[in-house]
Structure formats: C-alpha cells, structure tokens
C-alpha cells in the first residue's frame, strides 16, 4: 500500500490554494494505488488546517502547533516536515511547487535520500509503479518520469489540479507530533515584507487578468490596462520584459517564474508570447491577444486575436464595456 504524506501549507488559519491542489492530487493518487493520504500542517493554526485536510481526504493529520512556525522559515519548515516524513513512514511526500515549495522540495529530498520531481501535473499508475508527468522544454513537450529511490518528494505545478469539495463529515485522526523547533535553527531573518500590487486581487486568484508587455512601449500604458481591469473586476499582470524594463514591479509578472495563473479571461496586450510566459497561462480558459505583429507566438495560444495597436483598442473597449456593464 502506498502511503502518501501531503504538506498542507496554510495562509492564516486556512489551507493555501496550493495545499488544496496537493491534497486533491494525493487523494487521486491514493485511489489509483490503493493507498492512503496523510497530511502535515504547521504553526499555531495547525489543528484547524488538520481538520480542513481531513475534510479533503486525509485519514491521519499530523500537526506541529508551535508558534515559531507561524511565519514561513525555510530551516524550521524543512526540519519539521522532514521529521514528520520520517515518522509517518510515507514513501511519497507531496507539496505544492509554489514559492515555498520551490524552497523546500530539493532540500527535503536530499535530506531524506529521496528522489525529487517538480512541476508535476499528472501521473500514471500500474499496480505499485507510479510514473510522474510534467511539462518540459517550456511546455513544448511532456515527460514521463520514473523514480529510482524508494522515497520520492513531489512538487505539484500550481494551478494544475482541480481541488476537492471538502466533506465536513469525513473522519480522521489528528496527531500532534512531539517535535519542538527552536529559535536557534532560524538562519534566514526577515528584514521587511512588502505587499506590492496595483490592486487588491492577487494574480493567482483573479478571474480576469489584463497583462501588458513590451508592446506597451512604457509604463504609461499600464494605467489604461488598470482602468479596464477595475471596470471588469480583474487585475493587471505583466510580461517579464515589462518587469525587467522597470515599468511595473516584478511581483506583477505572469509566467513560470512569476505568477502561474488560471483566470477565466486573460487579455495579453503587447505581449509576444515567450515560452516562459505561455507556461504561466497554460490553464487560462479564454485568452485574447492584442498585438501589432500577426506572427507573434501569443496568437498560437490565443482563442481570440486582435491585430492592432493596443492604444486604438483598449480605450475603445473600455468605453464600450462601460456602457454595457455599468
């Protein structure tokens, strides 16, 4: 029987969207392999997270309720998750490959002598043998991987999984793990944290995203995109080129290294469509591309294309939608 442990990270007292995806993946895998899912939650709200994990399919939920784990710290989290991985006897440890997961997967796998596989979107399972499926070469291809070690740490690509609807009546056991992280373990000190965004809606959660790229020619164009985004209840994103040029802060970057998004509507304005950017919008439902270059790669991904200068389109689009929607 496959024993699967899921690290269910929390934002405040509830599970992060990545944690929900990791649990959904774990549960699907368990049903294919005849295994069971366990979870680990850390911090002062670990018990609330554990209950949520049980509602999402965990049969045993480990907790380390130490206040030192209230804020993410790489050393404390690696030590804590590694302790639970060992204690649980699990063969597979699943994490979201979100910004925290990107810190953790390589270190946990190395420490546990396990194989590591990241950006996983799917799997195939035959009896006890699991193969992991992930995009490679900027999403131009898929690779199917086997692992060579007994244990494996798996990082799930963000926004690649449908999450489970929690079942509040699910039964499971909560086990508080006897492990006390200490202050001496902390080596990375937070100096300042800045929540910088042009709007209150995070890119990851936005239903509508209007992104600008190099084709905007400067930072001014983003003001127009923001007006349209406000009207539609969406938010503004950007390509790496626009962020690198310093037109907007780097935390607006959509793409493999920025935000991986899955909105209902993604409007790419003046974005040519580099592979890194396309990899970040894989799960966008409808993509609209507005670009002067009809050969731009973004048109290969877009559902609706507008070949024109954005200046002549965005303002008219905003005016028209204002009449219809307001």
């Amino acid at each position: 029987m496959t024993r699967i442990l899921v690290f269910a990270n929390q934002q405040g007292d509830s599970l992060s969207s990545g944690a929900k995806e990791a649990l959904a993946f774990g549960r699907r895998l368990a049903s294919s392999t005849g295994g069971e899912v366990r979870s680990v939650t850390l911090g002062p709200f670990a018990e609330a997270g554990a209950r949520e994990a049980i509602a999402s399919g965990a049969s045993i939920a480990y907790t380390i309720s130490n206040p030192l784990l209230a804020e993410y710290d790489v050393e404390l989290f690696v030590n804590s998750i590694h302790t639970v991985f060992e204690q649980s006897g699990a063969d597979i440890l699943i994490l979201s490959f979100d910004k925290i997961g990107k810190d953790l997967v390589g270190r946990l796998a190395t420490r546990a002598g396990a194989s590591a596989i990241t950006e996983v979107v799917d799997y195939t399972a035959n009896s006890d043998k699991v193969s992991w499926i992930r995009p490679i070469y900027g999403d131009k291809a898929f690779g199917e991987y086997s692992t060579t070690r007994q244990k494996v740490v798996v990082g799930i690509r963000q926004k690649s999984q449908d999450v489970n609807v929690p079942v509040e009546t699910s039964k499971g056991e909560i086990i508080e793990v006897d492990y006390a992280p200490s202050e001496e373990m902390i080596v990375t000190k937070l100096v300042v944290k800045i929540q910088a965004a042009l709007s209150d809606i995070s890119l990851e959660d936005a239903r509508i995203i209007i992104s600008g790229g190099r084709g905007l020619g400067g930072p001014e164009g983003f003001t127009e995109l923001q007006v349209l985004a406000n009207l539609l209840g969406g938010t503004v994103g950007a390509s790496r080129a626009a962020c690198d040029a310093g037109w907007v802060p780097s935390n607006l970057q959509v793409g493999q290294t920025g935000a991986v998004v899955a909105p209902d509507l993604y409007i790419a304005v003046g974005i040519s469509g580099a592979s890194q950017h396309l990899a970040g919008i894989t799960n966008a439902k409808t993509v609209v591309a507005i670009n002067t270059d009809p050969e731009a790669p973004i048109f290969k991904r877009a559902n609706i294309g507008v070949v024109a200068d954005y200046k002549s389109v965005i303002q008219a689009l905003t005016e028209k939608l204002k009449k219809v929607l307001v």
């Binding site: 490959f97 194989s115 070469y137 690779g143 509507l265 290969k300």
Partner: protein, 264 residues
C-alpha cells in the same frame, strides 16, 4: 570574497514550436539546427555576480559549468563578462543526470575549489525546469539557500536578498556562505560584453575537473529520476483573428464576443 556562479547551456528556449522535435530513441530534442545558449536566469546570476564583485575590493568570480566540451561556449561568455576564472566539470560516464545529481557534483566541485562565500545560480533552467540545483547544493554544502532572488547586497558575513514571496516580495538577511537562486529583474539585465573582453576571453584558460578530482558519492551521482518517455504537446489553439484594422471597430467586436461568451 569568492563568488561562484553556476551556469548551464541549454537549447534556445525561444525555438519556434514547429521546429521543435523529440528524438524518440533518446527522448531528447533534435537540436542539430538549433542554437545552444547560456540559460537566461543563469545569465542574470552571472550579471549579478559580476556587479557584486565590482563593488567589493579583492572579490573574484569563478564561472562553473557542468557539461561537455561544447558547453565551454557559456564559460567563454562568462569570461567576456569579465569573470576571473572558468571551471568546467565533466566525466564521459555521466549521462542523464538530474537536478539532484548535478547539485551534488557542483557542491563537491565548489568544495574542491576551496568553497565560496556566495554561490549564485539561475533559479530554474529553461530546458528541464526542475528548479532543484540551488536548494540541493545548499543542503549538500550545509549552508543556507535563498530562492527566487532578484537583488542582492553583501556585507561582511551576511547578505541581504530581495526575494519573491506569496503576495509580494521580502528582504531577508542570511549569514554567508550561502546559495542564492536568481530570477530576472531590472537590476540584473545582462550586459553587452565589450569587443575587447570578448577577444580576451578567447585566450583565457578554462580549468577542467573530472570526477576523479572530486570527492563524489557514487550513489548521489546517480539520477533520482529517469525520463522514460517524452512526447510533444500541441497547445496551439485555433485563434479566431477578428477581421479589420480599425481599432474602435475591433474593440466593439471584441466586446460583443466576450459578452456573447458570457465571460463578462
């Protein structure tokens, strides 16, 4: 202060998808007609390493690359960026290494070079995109790792890094030595090397290290994952290009389409 920057040669990621093919025998891309380039985040790391070196008197940058002879191109590029030394590590027996094995070998190479106060590497290479090498090196070397770093300032025994975190960014302080995985930002856009430096780089030595020069763990040099099958993915969708060239008319048509699709 010794700064090591780890570089990787990759297939040009911006190859047009229709020219991208997988060889079914090797599961690798057929790259006979395609350029090999220095990975883009590795190039950001290189630029940052050179900038830091120039701020600290007496600091040196060693560019390090695991790869065959062909990968010396990226080390020449690093020398043209004015890196002080270039090291290539390779063994003919190595094949299909994964990020963990590469992390182990690079960590042992850095140890054999006498260690480094700062180890910089791209956050993720644009070919296999594992994002493992930095954290694995740190774990192997027993030093901290800061991932997704856009800016870096060094002090005597510590460094301040600007990093991406959920919902924004943060500045963190870590004691050095430490590993940093670098993303692109407006402050680390790669320079255009001077013609004089490109010419000088051609004649500078590249130090070759082989497995016998390093204290490697055979088990850790074995990949933990094996690519069994690779296949192309056709993500192209049939894009409906709206007819016409009048911006206002196109905007009106687009609005109608989005409303008809009930997206808005």
């Amino acid at each position: 202060m010794h700064i090591v920057v780890c570089l990787k040669q990759v297939l040009d990621p911006e190859i047009t998808p229709k020219y991208f093919k997988i060889d079914p025998d090797t599961n690798r891309p057929e790259n006979s007609d395609t350029d090999l380039v220095l990975d883009s985040f590795a190039e950001n790391a290189l630029e940052l390493a050179i900038q830091l070196r120039d701020k600290v008197p007496g600091a040196t940058v060693t560019a390090l690359c695991l790869g065959d002879e062909e990968s010396e191109e990226v080390l020449r590029r690093a020398l043209a960026f004015t890196a002080n030394a270039a090291v290539r590590v390779w063994d003919e027996e190595w094949e299909n290494l994964d990020g963990q094995a590469v992390g182990h070998i690079l960590a042992q190479t850095i140890t054999s070079l006498g260690g480094a106060q700062l180890v910089l590497t791209g956050y993720q290479a644009s070919d296999i995109e594992e994002g493992l090498v930095g954290p694995v090196m740190a774990e192997e070397l027993g030093i901290p790792c800061v991932t997704l770093v856009s800016e870096l300032e060094v002090e005597e025994n510590s460094a301040k890094a600007t990093v991406e975190v959920e919902g924004g960014y943060a500045v963190v302080s870590v004691p050095t030595p430490a590993v940093f995985t670098i993303i692109s930002s407006e402050t680390n856009v790669p320079r255009l090397p001077k013609v004089k430096d490109i010419r000088l780089a051609r004649s500078k030595p590249i130090n070759l290290l082989e497995s016998e020069d390093l204290n490697l763990d055979r088990e850790c040099c074995q990949p933990g994952v094996k690519l069994e099958r690779a296949y192309l993915l056709n993500r192209e969708v049939a894009c409906e290009v709206l007819p016409g060239d009048d911006g206002a008319e196109l905007a009106s048509e687009l609005a109608d389409r989005l409303l008809a699709l009930k997206i808005l």
